[in-house]
Amino acid sequence: MLSSIAGPLFNGLFAAMVVFLFASGLTLVFGILRVLNFAHGGLFMIGAYLAFTLSGVTGGSEMGVLRYVLLCALAGVGLGILGWLVERSIFRPLQKVDEAYSLIATYALLLICEGAVKAIWGVNFRSVPTPPLLADAWIAGDVVMPVYAVFVIAVGVAFYAALEWMLHHTQTGKLMKSVASDPWMAGKLGVNVPRLYAWIVIAGFFLAGVVGGLLLPNQTLSPNLANAFVVQAFGALIVGGMGNVRGTFLAAILLSVIDSFGSLYFPEIPGLFFYVAMAIMLVVRPQGLMAGGSL
């Protein structure tokens, strides 16, 4: 009886944290710049490929946990540098024109990411085994909990807690919220808003890279990886209240857990209940879970 609840709950939470981690950079950029970054999935994919290449894993070899964590950080830094370049050359000039151009530019960037991956890494499928330490599974009753999934859930929750704390209790976080809620006044008060925007773009790219590395053991690398979590992430972003970190976190959990239970009944259509739950939420609460307060 317990396992009939605990099992799907665990799987749902794992899926939720994957979605939340993927969506965190998206949420931050949207919450502050009000730009929906369509390229986020492409950046995530490049992060994963970058980590793959840096891992040097070939054939049957394996990597240790420490190395894996380091790879995630390196993928993040690599993407952060790319973010700096893109902000300089694309986002900043476009900020002066209409918002729609930024949207189109991010879509173009997605296509460029996909093209770049095909050109650099080819179209063959690749994969990296889970680091041995994380490859085990814990068994409680008849619930099987892969250590890797526990690890991802822990990282997701810890990252969410850290982000919340940063936003509500630090100077930087409060400044971010202020700029998100009224950039006009922030500028008039002497805040260097363009520079803050640049850092947020860099942070968004960085997160895409780190999460790309983090989810690498769980993914098969192919140029389609860009689309792997995009729909779920946009769903969590929208249901969460468009750019609210807490909303995205809660929405990711709600939608993924419902989906996890739902797929017990309709295993032949995976993901169906994610969309059903999303549609219901949008009817019941069209403003999103956390509308009103930005970020």
């Binding site: 409060k174 400044l175 202020s178 500028g187 008039k188 002497g190 805040v191 260097n192 808003v193 307060g293």
Partner: protein, 234 residues
């Protein structure tokens, strides 16, 4: 110190501010008067690149500031209190004031929040109150306090007395005078409250339908009682 115009400002196709010229001297108080819709706020915003499309020179200490980024304009010493105040609802009174410290000019030390409380004692009792918990009048006061914390050399106040009780209007006039004299701060003020404007400035521009229809000292204004009834009566 501030030389503006001839300045035109547009909202879409509507030509709101039409060839306005005005100057503000070092430490001087200057008022812009006019009835609702005369173009006072639009003039302020056009000077600060804060909304309308503005065409025409705006010089601060001889340098054009029209193309500067907002924070650069602020850090040159121009502080705007917009008509809608824009207090941050999620920040406390103290934090709202501290936001203004970003506008500190290079090399200059802004006031501390505590020093600001000495100028505006009412705010000290509200220090830990969140922005959204303040009354309209408290928000007005806070908006002024937040604007002066970085010691600007020119304060632009858009109808600071709107909706304030008479006793608060008097208190605000005293407090603004106090902090201006401490720092030699110039003031460009839009008002419909003639008493407050007279108390805070030495000369005025009268605006009607986006044009300057009178400029001069308060004495010159008083010598022409027709102005008041023609351009300010409701």
């Amino acid at each position: 110190m501030l030389e503006v115009g001839p300045l035109d400002a547009f909202y879409g196709d509507s030509y709101v501010v039409q060839g306005v010229r005005l100057t503000v001297g070092e430490g001087e108080g200057v008022a812009i008067l006019g009835r609702n819709g005369a173009g006072k706020s639009t003039t302020m915003k056009a000077i600060m690149a804060g909304g309308p499309r503005a065409v025409g020179p705006v010089l601060h200490r001889g340098t054009s500031i029209a193309d500067l980024a907002d924070h650069e304009r602020a850090r040159r010493g121009l502080a705007l209190v917009p008509e809608d105040r824009r207090i941050y609802p999620h920040l406390t009174v103290a934090e709202n004031i501290a936001m203004g410290r970003h506008a500190a000019r290079p090399g200059a030390t802004p006031y501390t929040v505590e020093e600001i409380f000495a100028f505006f004692p009412v705010l000290r009792d509200l220090a830990q109150r969140l922005g959204f918990e303040l009354s309209g009048g408290q928000q007005q006061l806070l908006a002024v306090a937040r604007a002066v914390v970085a010691r600007p050399d020119c304060l632009l106040l858009d109808e600071p007395t709107e909706g304030l009780a008479p006793v608060l209007v008097e208190a605000l006039a005293r407090q603004i005078e106090h902090i201006r004299s401490a720092d030699g701060m110039a003031l460009l003020l839009t008002e419909q409250n003639v008493w407050f404007a007279r108390k805070s400035t030495t000369r005025l521009y009268l605006l009607d339908s986006g044009r300057v229809v009178f400029e001069g000292s308060w004495d010159a204004f008083d010598a022409r009682p027709d102005l008041q009834s023609r351009y300010l009566a409701l």
